[in-house]
């Protein structure tokens, strides 16, 4: 019994130190957003200070350069899932339910797109978007983001559809319902949690992406992530403003992941590990 107590205390202490290591940097960075600038670098580091909203005000109110960037991020992320979801749902359904030749190869190809080097796509798309006059538009970013969000969504949605019992659909088929009718009135409602989870992950994917907007966006279509860079200039590094902008950019994905809770492991492994 005593042994057990010592063991439990040991594990608790270990987990506590683990948490400090993994949460500490986030807290430290959030604190930077509300610090008076003169306390940003002190020796020893100052843990207590009088919080100020100056940096947040500068970044989002006056002059508020990052407010339109926040709007862009929201528009681009929503636009991305709007195109992504319908396309992915049909594909995931077909890949789950029908015997398609080369299914394994197709899934492997999707995985390759999802995990492949994004920079490879960057140069061709930079030149293509220039040539077809879409350069610098939100639409160009939304389109290129499909390269990663569609394969991701197909993988995740397929894992959810695989879990649904096929008997219900077969029964409906016997009753004479068509494929589309079955899909819309049986599979889709049953699969609603899967669709919502996929949508939330795809949203975070688009929200956190930087590689594409770095090259494809301009001053008008820059996302909030790109905005963070604008306070890191050669003439001076505004750490408070960087952190203020980043803090806002970080908050939404954090909330979404908290809401996803049980599905986090499944989503992050593209449905291959059911946590």
């Amino acid at each position: 019994m005593r042994n057990n107590l010592i063991q439990k205390t040991g594990i608790s202490l270990f987990l506590l130190s683990i948490l400090i290591f993994f949460i500490g940097p986030i807290v430290w960075f959030f604190a930077l957003a509300i610090r008076p600038p003169e306390t940003a670098f002190q020796s020893p580091p100052s843990l207590f200070f009088k919080p100020t909203l100056e940096s947040l005000k500068y970044v989002f109110v006056t002059p508020g350069d990052s407010l339109p960037q926040l709007v862009n991020s929201i528009l681009i992320s929503f636009g991305t899932i709007l195109i992504n979801l319908p396309l992915s749902f049909f594909a995931a359904y077909a890949l789950s339910r029908y015997a398609i030749r080369g299914k394994s190869a197709i899934m492997g190809w999707y995985l390759g797109l999802l995990m492949g080097p994004a920079v490879v796509f960057l140069i061709p798309y930079f030149i293509l978007m220039n040539n077809i006059g879409l350069s610098g538009t939100r639409l160009s970013i939304i389109l290129v983001l499909q390269l990663v969000t569609i394969p991701f969504s197909i993988w995740l949605l397929k894992s959810f559809i695989d879990d649904l019992p096929i008997e219900v659909e077969e029964a409906a088929q016997v009753d004479g319902a068509g494929a589309l009718k079955i899909l819309s009135s049986i599979t889709l409602p049953l699969c609603r949690p899967g669709v919502i989870v996929t949508m939330m992950f795809a949203f975070v994917f688009a929200w956190n992406n930087v590689v594409f907007p770095i090259i494809l966006s301009n001053a008008e279509s820059a996302t909030i992530q790109i905005g963070v860079f604008s306070y890191f200039t050669s003439s001076g590094v505004q750490w408070g403003q960087i952190a203020a902008c980043a803090a806002v950019a970080m908050t939404l994905p954090m909330i979404i992941f908290l809401a996803l809770d049980k599905f986090v492991v499944r989503g992050l492994t593209f449905g291959s590990v059911k946590g």
Binding site: F90, V120, A249
Partner: protein
């Protein structure tokens, strides 16, 4: 039903591939011409090795990929074991532990850039306080320490991922088996080695591949933290490709480099699946 997305994705991937294959054999610098110039055979490929720090980038990329994977896997496994002791507050720990994964990699870069800053950031201050050796140019500024220093943010961000996925796999191991092993007098280490590890191996193999590929493509952290420096000591292949194509505008050379990188990646994935994934089906 798979048609629309298939055609759409096919078009989205075929174009860059066609673009890279075509221009890998043409002379084209965007600063001198808006369109590709003449056919030059394999000169672009020769130039990748002659004029870009390709081998340094390859070396760094491999160190980051395999070093990062091993460290994150090992640390994640230890944390997963601790979580599987099923203490009361394990769900809170789990929810908090996932937070690093939610942060965009560029923001992780800024987070650590702030902590590494000069001699006044948190990390140099901590190192000073405990008299941990510190190069004069800082951890990010010295050729010897820059790769570990670059890897630290990645370890910070992705170890929780391993911990949570492995935790999910470990609690999937039937309780009776572990109890039976205990009754038979197996030591905890023996239980881990003979019961837990074999059961979670399929999961380790899958997430190992996913993370290996992610590490291989490391770009964001380099872009924010070191810009490839000092010298070429922290350049990765993705970063070198970015520099060649979108800073130097050598589209032809970048296209050749793209093809070489994709070949290397395919070899790694092929070797990995031959070694560890026999019989795995998607």
């Amino acid at each position: 039903m798979i048609g629309p997305s298939f055609i759409f994705l096919f078009a989205l991937t075929a174009y860059p591939l066609y673009f890279s294959i075509k221009n890998a054999f043409r002379y084209w610098n965007l600063q001198t011409s808006p369109v590709p110039l003449h056919y030059i055979g394999f000169d672009n490929f020769k130039n990748v090795f002659a004029f870009t720090p390709f081998f340094a980038s390859l070396r760094n990329t491999l160190i980051i990929s395999f070093g990062g994977l091993l460290i994150e896997l090992a640390l994640g496994f230890i944390i997963a074991l601790a979580l599987s002791a099923r203490l009361k507050y394990v769900n809170i720990v789990r929810a908090l532990l996932i937070m690093p994964v939610t942060v965009a990699p560029v923001i992780v870069g800024f987070m650590f850039r702030y902590m590494y800053w000069d001699i006044v950031g948190l990390i140099p201050w901590l190192a000073n306080t405990i008299h941990f050796p510190q190069p004069e140019a800082g951890y990010l500024g010295s050729p010897i320490t820059v790769l570990p220093a670059l890897l630290l943010p990645d370890i910070w961000q992705w170890t929780p991922f391993f911990a949570l996925v492995l935790y999910a796999a470990i609690i999937g191991v039937p309780h009776e088996i572990i109890e039976a092993a205990k009754v038979d007098g197996a030591s905890p280490i023996r239980i881990v080695r003979s019961v837990i590890l074999p059961t979670i191996k399929p999961v380790v193999v899958v997430i190992g591949l996913l993370q290996l590929m992610r590490l291989f493509n490391t770009f964001d952290l380099v872009y924010v933290l070191t810009n490839g420096g000092p010298g070429d000591y922290s350049r990765t292949l993705s970063f070198s490709l970015f520099r060649e194509g979108l800073i130097n505008f050598n589209i032809g050379v970048a296209a050749a480099m793209t093809i070489i990188i994709l070949l290397i990646l395919n070899v790694i994935v092929f070797a990995y699946s031959k070694l560890f994934m026999k019989g795995t089906k998607f």
